[in-house]
Amino acid sequence: MAQSTFRVHVDPDKCQGHNRCYSVSPDLFELDDLGTSSEVGAGLVPVGLISLARLAVANCPEHAISLTEVQS
């Protein structure tokens, strides 16, 4: 049976470097030299970090982060 998981993504055009997501979870997000955020790797969220991913979405002032369910 296909298992569902979540993928987190930061829209680089919307991110303004507030770094709220990075402070919520440095495991899920990383910053470049300018402080712009992106998802770590492919953005697949380990089960234990789903609540942090949701928290990051709910605290991005620019609405730059999306969390989508994917089949794996």
Partner: protein, 406 residues
């Protein structure tokens, strides 16, 4: 507080952010305007607008076509032909418009990411401990004057590489720039000239003896293979001083003011250190110190209002943070608020460059305070005074210590 302007009768048609009623409690005024307008107007300052909902504040922040950042402090004086015009402005990049804004901002951003800011944390922590140690043995003192105000000024002086002993001198200069916006233009000119003269002396000193600090970083920086013009460096240094001091002083002071009156929040924060992450953001939301400003760039209709080129627009991020359409129970401080897209550091491309620095200072200031003074209250609520103008924070904050930490 200022008595230079007549008292406001109706904030919908005659608002003034230096009015005694605004200084005492702007939240009531914004709540009222949100129901009635939600874009207020004033003929003061030569004509100004004030949107108070989260939606409208966001819309203006994202619209760099109809609004220019050429001046971001509303005063009697608009930028004139003698000032550096857009897109550069007098204090780049806050006073710059795209595309120049992005170029300058990208040059500065690496100095303000979490990593370099973390390097300043031990200095900030030692400083907080030193300030608290100086209050030792006293049952009451002024938390704004003896604690909060010293932290950002000394950290930014360290960051820029200016002598620590000059810190006191700056606080005076900066208050005049930010708070005395209703002074006659010629008197304001004199204040600005004093800031420029100090910065010029520092530039000369750093050119002669470069070192590892932000001033030398700016003097070494290049855009398109060219070093920055001296007025650009001076403007940015002045910006970092002005933007980095009153703002964070206000955030620390307002947070202590809240904690002094809410024993349950105080105890919770002292008992649950993990709460600091959300608590910090909630205090920033509820007591966001900074209202920005724009100038209208071109005549256009803004939701039925005839905006004219050169009109001021106050951009109250603190009002956006109290909009019930954007935040549940916005008037209530909930230290564990989980959904909190507050706009304390602005929105869009002008997001506060120093937000990581401000957060570090606020967190360290509260951690060190609570470690030493977990229990305290306002000595006299009526003795607390608040700043006027676009940066809101307590300027007198007498507290009484009820219990001591280890």
């Amino acid at each position: 507080m200022s008595n230079r302007h007549p008292p406001v009768q109706d904030f919908a048609t005659d608002f003034d952010h230096t009015d005694a009623a605004w200084v005492a409690d702007p939240y009531l005024i914004w709540d009222d305007l949100r129901q009635r307008c939600p874009v207020a107007h004033s003929d003061r300052y030569g004509g100004a607008w004030l949107p108070v909902t989260h939606d409208l504040v966001s819309e203006v922040a994202y619209d760099t076509d109809h609004f220019t950042s050429r001046s971001v402090v509303v005063s009697e004086r608009r930028p004139g032909p003698e000032d550096l015009p857009a897109p550069i402005g007098v204090s780049p990049p806050i006073s710059s418009d795209p595309p120049f804004h992005g170029v300058v901002r990208r040059m500065l951003l690496p100095a303000f990411t979490p990593k370099p800011i973390a390097a300043l944390e031990p200095f900030a922590r030692d400083l907080c401990r030193e300030l608290l140690a100086a209050t030792d043995g006293r049952s009451s003192f002024d938390a704004a004057l003896e604690y909060a105000q010293h932290i950002p000024v000394r950290v930014i002086v360290k960051f820029l590489g200016f002598p620590q002993e000059d810190a006191d001198q700056f606080r005076g200069i900066i208050r005049l720039v930010l708070e005395e916006v209703d002074l006659p233009p010629e008197e304001r000119e004199e204040r600005f000239a004093a800031v420029d003269a100090y910065m010029d002396a520092q530039i000369e000193d750093h050119l002669a003896r470069p070192r590892d600090d932000l001033t030398s970083f700016l003097l070494e920086a290049e855009i398109g293979g060219q070093k920055l013009p001296v007025e650009h460096v001076r403007g940015t240094m002045a910006l970092l001083m002005v933007a980095g001091i009153d703002t964070t002083w206000s955030a620390i002071g307002a947070s202590l003011w809240h904690l002094a009156q809410h024993p349950e929040d105080r105890r919770r924060l002292a008992a649950e250190p993990d709460l600091m992450g959300t608590a910090l953001e909630e205090l920033l939301r509820a007591y966001a110190p900074v209202t920005m400003a724009r100038l209208v760039a071109t005549d256009f209709d803004f939701h039925g209002h005839p905006f004219k080129e050169g009109d001021w627009l106050l951009l109250p991020f603190p009002a956006a943070n109290r909009d019930p359409a954007a935040f549940e129970n916005p008037g209530q401080v909930q230290l564990d608020r989980a959904t909190n897209r507050h706009a304390a550091f602005g929105l869009g491309r002008h997001r506060c460059l120093g937000s990581n620095l401000a957060r570090m200072e606020l967190r360290v200031a509260l951690e060190e305070w609570l470690a030493r003074y977990p229990d305290f209250e306002l000595s006299d609520p009526a003795a607390v005074t608040w700043s006027a103008g676009q940066v809101r924070g307590p300027r007198r904050l007498p507290v009484t210590i009820l219990g001591r930490g280890g």
